[in-house]
Amino acid sequence: MEETLVINVLGLSIGVNTLLSLVATVLLVWVFCMVSTKSMSVDKPGKAQLMLEWVYDFVRGLVGGAITDSKVQMYNLLGMTLLLFVFIANMVGLGFILTIKDYSIWKSPTGDPIVCLALALIMIILSHYLGVDKLGFKQYIKSSYMQPVSFMLPINIIEEFTNTLTLALRLYGNIFAGEVLLGLIASLGGSFFPVTWVIGIPLQMVWQGFSLFIGSIQAYIFVTLTMVYMSHKVETEH
């Protein structure tokens, strides 16, 4: 639990470490996509283009399992953006964690509960908006709140809040716990040079590998659950 520099913008306080790593994540995703699509070709694709195509194919499999709609391209694009963003956001905190004079200035953006809650809230509100857009207001109320019997209304309302909270806190908890342990192993390894370096460095490498695995699993789960929640709002049972 470190202190961080806080800047106040219009009465809202923003932590500098999250701001820096968020901007870096967005820039990384943008640079990756620009580089992969620089000179695309059908019969002689470069490696970056192949990687981007693989990601798109993976997202298409994810989304197709949840949403059977004619306008599935919109969900494909959303899923791919979300997957790239969450995956790279989980990765940036693994390479290094910077602390200057007791103030932290770099950590994973998804290790901040505010960022995770914002992501989850955006996805849930988007699913409501898409439901109203596709089905009309009356049908939307009927098919997502009055199902299967109309006195299930309080349970369905509570389910909305639970979905948002667990979607956000699952991502936050996994990444935050990983980072705390990274810091703990680093302080163990640095406490008595050179003896603890022998234990500390391999242990840190093992934990970074495991955190890489967990970060990718959590990105996959976030996108899959978002698509499942959207399909609940958009599709009705006839």
Partner: protein
């Protein structure tokens, strides 16, 4: 007392997560043995299940961290 509370929280969280994960993964291994051609799909579903199960014990771990480090 905070350290004791954190220790109890983390130990029960670890117990819950491991028992839950063990059930899911053992069922997946059994299913792969029954139908080896579905291995890819079963593996992806297993990872989805493991991530969902580990969500709540991880929240308990975060609460334990808050207790210890503040």
């Amino acid at each position: 007392m905070d350290a004791l509370a954190a220790a109890i929280a983390v130990s029960i969280a670890a117990l819950g997560a491991s028992i839950g994960n063990g059930m899911v993964i053992s069922k997946t291994i059994e299913s792969i043995a029954r139908q080896p051609e579905l291995e890819g799909k079963l593996r992806m579903t297993m990872f989805l299940g493991v991530g969902l199960i580990e969500a709540v014990p991880i929240m308990a771990v975060v609460i334990a961290f808050i207790l210890v480090f503040r």
